[in-house]
């Protein structure tokens, strides 16, 4: 009779691996995006399982709430809804799967055979300690990451804004599809209304 801990772990692991397998093998790009949501949520559950409350909440807020939704938007903006399957053919299984299988087998064998030094796990609230670490030992990486985020934000807006402007020109010449598609794209580039 397995304990509750074991059941919870294998449930979360099944959710994560099932979602990831769906991302890897689903023929429908939209379905893959939704299954990615499952995989990311399962990972967040595993973080909670290990007592990493802050990382788990961050995972849900940023990955599930932000990145996955952004990916869904990108899927909807770049696929013609009728034929989401067309651009999604997975070629090269013949060459990719042996290589990937080899790497995966090596990793799993290494992980199961290695003599991991494992100490008794302690479960304590982590948020205060993480904040402390950010403002003491990891102050420089913390500040650097803020600059990286700012640069990524500005860079993404610049790149996407040019795309929207090009689409506007294209819409003027060829009416219809591209003009309709550029409207949601404006939501991804919030600076457009401010600068133009």
């Amino acid at each position: 009779m397995p304990g509750l801990e074991t059941l919870v772990f294998y449930g979360l692991a099944a959710l994560t691996v099932g979602g990831a397998a769906g991302v890897a093998f689903s023929r429908n790009i939209l379905r893959a995006a939704f299954l990615l949501l499952g995989a990311l949520t399962g990972t967040a559950g595993l973080y909670f399982f290990m007592g990493a409350d802050f990382v788990g909440v961050t995972q849900i807020l940023i990955y599930v709430g932000g990145i996955a939704v952004l990916l869904l938007f990108a899927v909807l903006l770049t696929s013609r809804i009728g034929d989401v399957r067309v651009s999604n053919r997975a070629l090269g299984y013949g060459t990719a799967l042996p290589i990937v299988g080899l790497v995966g087998t090596f990793l799993v064998v290494a992980a199961t055979r290695a003599a991991w030094r494992q100490t008794e796990a302690v479960a304590a609230p982590t948020t205060a300690r993480i904040g402390d670490a950010f403002l003491r030992e990891y102050l420089l990486p913390f500040e650097l990451v803020s600059i990286v985020l700012l640069m990524a934000l500005v860079g993404a807006m610049v790149v996407a804004r040019r795309a929207v402007r090009d689409a506007g020109v294209a819409a003027a010449t060829a009416a219809g599809v591209s003009g309709a598609a550029s409207e949601p794209a404006a939501e991804l580039a919030p600076s457009r209304s401010a600068t133009s």
């Binding site: 961050t58 990286v148 860079g155």
Partner: protein, 105 residues
């Protein structure tokens, strides 16, 4: 690998499986957004390892700090990559990574 007590080994194996699936996605997909999803899976596997080693090793906090860094950098990477994907889609009307062979303004 005992079934009874969940330990560090379980998480490392799970992370290896997750990484392998992400690698499969990156290797076999031709849709740029799907390739990005594979990269997210790989980053998730790495962050899972960080947290697992932090949890089962002396209760140190360092691994969790780096997991947060991984999440933040994944967010930045996703934003920039999706902007590029949108831009490419406007130019080529396709995001099939095998068909993008020209550079143009």
């Amino acid at each position: 690998m005992s079934l009874a007590a969940i330990g560090l080994r379980h998480f490392v194996v799970l992370s290896a499986v997750l990484f392998t699936l992400g690698l499969t996605t990156v290797a076999t997909r031709r849709n740029a957004v799907a390739v990005l999803m594979g990269i997210e899976l790989i980053l998730n596997a790495a962050a899972l390892n960080f947290v697992a080693f932090a949890h089962y090793g002396h209760g140190a906090i360092t691994g969790q700090v780096f997991a947060v860094f991984v999440v933040v950098l994944a967010a930045a990477e996703a934003a920039v990559a999706l902007a590029i994907v949108l831009s490419v889609y406007r130019s080529f009307r396709a995001i099939d990574v095998t068909r993008l062979e020209t550079l143009r303004d």
